[in-house]
Every structure is written in structure tokens, then in C-alpha cells.
């Protein structure tokens, strides 16, 4: 199996005033292609730091990081940018869509930073990504004309459009109600079933149950890394009482 992510003895130390804060204290794990991993932990556990490094937004103090076979731990800022553009799809808690910009243009955005893609292909890929998340009839809607769940779907389409090796979701259901959260998790499960590798950072155990493996962080160490039998989000959705939204 293809190792999408491999980290070895990863450490990240921050200098806060005169004190050194060790956010990650030497962790190692890997994610294979097609896995749906939830990274769990309370605030201060180091999961955000780990996500930043996995997302090539930050560099480790020491240790190795390989993404899709490429060493990413000692890259320049520009090289990291290119890695993010080609290999990673981010989904954020607050969607981070550009305001007053249509769904289609929002989804096209990552491809604008890849000059190898001509505008016709860019448009086609954006349309395809929006189809994948079920928003083919909302192409020209502005974010403020979309519900929270729909906005998150646009954000997921944006993360998919560059065909990344891994989707990194950061509390992607944190701003959504239960029903919509389940809908989004169901979408992630569908994408995973289609072969997408997903790392899902969350602190909510009832969201993590939809993933197939849980990595638990505490105080900069991995305290648990176990496969779980994922619950189907569609079933949970069906089991919700109808009036739960009201």
C-alpha cells in the first residue's frame, strides 16, 4: 500500500518569551492511501501543530516528514506552497470562502495558482468537483446565498479540485448543527469510499466514530492509534429525529 503520509520522530518546539514550549515531543506514524483517519485531542494536545506540519504550513523543529514520497521537512516557503497546491486539500472549520465570489470561482481558486492548468480545464475540474459534493445546481451562488452545510461543501469541492493526495479537515463540522454535520461526514465517507485519503482533526468523539482509524494525541505524544469500525453517517442521519433542527 502507498504511504501518503509518513512522519518520524517529529518534534516541534516554540519559543515563547524565554521559555521553550514543546508542542510535539517526537511522534511517528503513517497514513496509507485510502485511509480515513481522525486525529483527536483536547486543546493543547498538539493536534493543531501536527495539522499545520501535515498541511505544509509549518516546518518541524526536527524529525522527518514525507508526503506522497516527497520529503517535506526541510523545504523553503515557496516549495511548501507548491506542495500545498499540488498535494493537499484543506477544509477549515469556518469554510474560508471568498465573499461575493461565486461557488464556481471559489472552487477554481487553487487552480489559478497552478499555471500549468489552462482556463478551460480549470473550469471543467471546478464543475466536476462541485458535482462530487452535490452542488452542481448552485454554481453561481454567492457564499451568503448558501447555507452553512452548502458553504462547507463548496469548501470541500475547493479542496478536491486540485486532486490532492490527502484531504486535511480541521474541525470541519465545528460550525455545523448535528444534522448538517452528519451530512458532511456522510460526504467525507463517500469521498473516502471513492479512494480519497482523509485526515480529520476533531475533538468531538461522536464525529470521530465515522472514521476508520483514530489517532489520539495528548501533551505532544500519541497516546492511542487504533483502527475502529466506522459507523455509516447516512444511518446516523436517518436515525435522527425529524424535529431535531427545530
Amino acid at each position: 500500500m502507498n504511504r501518503i503520509i509518513e512522519i518520524q520522530e517529529l518534534r516541534r518546539t516554540f519559543q515563547v518569551g524565554s521559555e521553550q514550549v514543546h508542542a510535539l515531543k517526537g511522534i511517528s506514524f503513517f497514513i496509507n492511501e485510502g485511509e480515513f483517519v481522525s486525529i483527536m485531542g483536547t486543546s493543547g494536545s498538539g493536534k493543531s501543530t501536527l495539522l499545520n506540519i501535515l498541511g505544509c504550513l509549518d516546518r518541524p523543529t526536527s524529525g522527518e516528514y514525507f508526503i506522497d514520497g516527497t520529503a517535506a521537512s526541510k523545504r523553503t516557503k515557496d516549495e511548501l506552497s507548491t506542495l500545498r497546491n499540488r498535494k493537499i486539500g484543506f477544509v477549515f472549520q469556518s469554510y474560508n470562502l471568498l465573499a461575493r465570489t461565486s461557488a464556481l470561482e471559489n472552487v477554481e481558486l487553487p487552480l489559478l495558482y497552478n499555471s500549468a492548468i489552462p482556463s478551460k480545464e480549470r473550469r471543467e475540474r471546478a464543475l466536476h468537483a462541485l458535482e462530487q459534493v452535490g452542488l452542481q445546481d448552485r454554481l453561481h451562488h454567492m457564499p451568503n446565498q448558501l447555507s452553512g452545510g452548502q458553504q462547507q461543501r463548496v469548501a470541500i469541492a475547493r479542496a478536491l479540485v486540485n486532486d490532492p493526495v490527502i484531504l486535511l479537515a480541521d474541525e470541519a463540522t465545528g460550525n455545523l448543527d448535528t444534522r448538517t454535520s452528519y451530512e458532511i461526514m456522510s460526504l467525507f465517507q463517500k469521498l473516502n469510499a471513492e479512494g480519497k485519503t482523509i485526515a480529520f482533526v476533531t475533538h468531538e468523539p461522536d464525529i470521530a466514530i465515522f472514521t476508520s482509524r483514530t489517532v489520539q494525541l495528548r501533551d505532544g505524544h500519541i497516546v492511542r492509534d487504533a483502527p475502529v469500525t466506522p459507523k455509516a453517517a447516512a444511518e446516523s442521519l436517518a436515525a435522527l429525529p425529524v424535529d431535531v433542527d427545530f
Binding site: G55, L57, F90, N162
Partner: protein, 406 residues
Amino acid sequence: MNLFNLLRIAYRALIRNKTRALLTMLGIIIGIASVIAMVSLGQSSSKSINDQISSTGTNLIMVMRQNQRQGGVNIGSANVQSLKEEDVTAIMRKAKYISMASPVISASGQLVSGSNNWPGTIQGGNTSLLVIRKYEVASGTMFTEPDVRAAAKVCLVGQTVADNLFSNGENPVGQTIRFGRIPFKIIGVLASKGQNQMGQDQDDIVVAPYTTVQKRILAITYIHMIMASAMSEDVAPQALNEVEGIMREQHKLKAGQDNDFQVRSQQEMLKMMNSVTGFLTVLLAAIASISLVVGGIGIMNIMYVTVTERTKEIGLRMSIGAHNKDILLQFLCESIILSLVGGVIGIIFGLILSYAASAALGWPYMVSTTAVGLSFVVCAATGIFFGWYPAKKAAALDPINALRYE
């Protein structure tokens, strides 16, 4: 990243905030419009002055008396008697570049006709004076050579004089007016010329044979001034030198000795006026360009605020793969687009403004292509200069912090 994508990104970012973009551009629009209007109007005014001076004849050459000192006393030019009729004859005989020359003698006094009177100046000249000074006879005739020889008491009056002396509208030609105690018969009325560039009424004039003014009114033997016409405008400088040479010879001045006369051409006058209007144009343009600088600072200000306001957007762009350089270029592009579009609108406004103003003032409409071209360059430079700092600031943001920014 290719340029096309960059422009698309910058354009989309601007179009998302049309009102803000427009307000930001306003400073540049006003700045460029005022610079264009000022430069155009400056050129219009100097063109208008040029036209007026040309209408009095740019080939006009004047020989005037020079201030003189006698024993340490400056006796001014009025009492200098150095210019003579013979000088005119000599110029006419010897000068190759001069087509006509006339002695000029002026006398001021009260003009009386019946119960009307008017303070006027009689200008005495020979038969070519009107041609040299570009006057035309509207009705009646010019005096003749025999009139000059006989010091005939005839004159031609300008429109202003005619209107004031003959207020009931009778035909001045054939009437007799008095200048002091001397009666003059009016044989012609001059065509109106309006005001000259100094605001003097060119129609407030009476023209008579110089012999009449010299002998009958002033009783002098010298003349006040010589007016001559160069063959053409092009040879006016040569004509000027030639006249000076003839005059020095005529006055038997040795080499190294100062002239006892002054030679002036209308072209010199033109140069002087042009330097004045040129200076004014530069001054006004300089003042207007202050507003351009203020407009540029406006762009910088907005772009600076924008960077803070759009921190999250910048973080997102970085997270999906924008290089620092891409962010820098995007913000730089935005400010250049703002200033260039503002500049184009400003140029259009400036041209409309200067057209309206020159139409209202009756000046010829001048479009300064240099000013338009320069404005464009200045706009681009403004965009780059004032956009650089905010763009730099945006590009230096850390993606992690920018994404978390609330």
C-alpha cells in the same frame, strides 16, 4: 503563476468591492484630472496669447530711444532726440530683410468734436504705418504721400474714438475734429481690433501723417520711434540685427560703444509672454500634482487597511498554494489597476474639463499629449510606489496566523 491568472485574481478581488475601489480611485481621478486640465489650460492660454501677438504682427520690429546719462544724470528716454527721419530712410534704403518702415511720433491731448470730447493720442506715421501695425481701414481712405509731404491736417480714427466723439451715430468720415487748437479732417475709420494681450484697447487711436504731428503739434525735429516690418516672420531675427547695424552706422557709433537706441521685435515679446505662461502652467501643474500625491496616499491607505481586513483571505490563498510572491503581486496589481483605471477616468475628466473651460474663456482647445502620456506613467508609478508597502506587508503574513485571524 502566469500574468493572466494574476490579473484575473486582482480583478476579481477589486470587483468584489466596487464601491471601495471607486472611492479609492477618486483621489487619483481628481489628481490626474486637475493636472491634465491645468496643463491643457496653460497651453490654451499661451496659444491664445500667441495668436493675439501674431495678429499684431510677429514681424514687427521697433527702434526706440535709449535712456541716456549726461554727466551722471539719467535723462530718461523721453527727452532723447537721437532718432531722426534720416534713420528711417537709411533703413529703407539699406536693409534687405525689411519690407516697410515708418517713423512714429505720438502726441497726447484732448480730442473735441462739437460738444463731445475724448482724451486721445495721435500717432503720426507714414503711409505704411497701418500695414506695419496690421490695421485696416473700415471706411474712408488712408492718407497719401502728398498728405505726408504737405503735413496735411487729416487723420483716421479708431472705433473707440469714433464712438465717443460721434455718439449720435453720424458718419465720422468727412467730419472735422480738433486736437488742441488744430482742426483735423477725418478721412477714414479703422477696423476694430479689440484689446491686445495687455488689455489695452487697440481701437483707442488716431493716426495722422507724422509730419503733421511733428511740425504742427509738437514742433520738434526728431522722431519718437521707428516701426518696421521684417520681410517675414522667419527672417525677423536677421532683420533685427540688420536694423541694429544700420542704426549704429547711422549714429556713427564706434565698436564697443553702447547703442543710443533699442531695437525690439515682437518675437522677443512673444518669448517673454511664453515664458510667463509657461511658468504659470508649471506652477499650476505642480499644485495639481499635490492632489495626485494625496490620491496616491489614499490608495496606500486603503490598500493598507485592506491587507488587515483581508488577512484571512490572504491566509486562505497561502494555504491553497499561493507563493509569497503571488500575494505580493496580487496586491501590487490591485493598486496598479486602481491607479491606472483612476488615471484613465481622470484623463477623460481632465480633457472634458479643459474643453469646457477653454470654450467658456474663448481660448483655443489644446490637448497636451505629453501631459496625457506622462499622467499614465505617473499613475502606474503611483500604483507601484504606494502599493508596494501594503503588498509587502500582505506577502509577509504567516499563513497559520493569517488563517486564525479574526
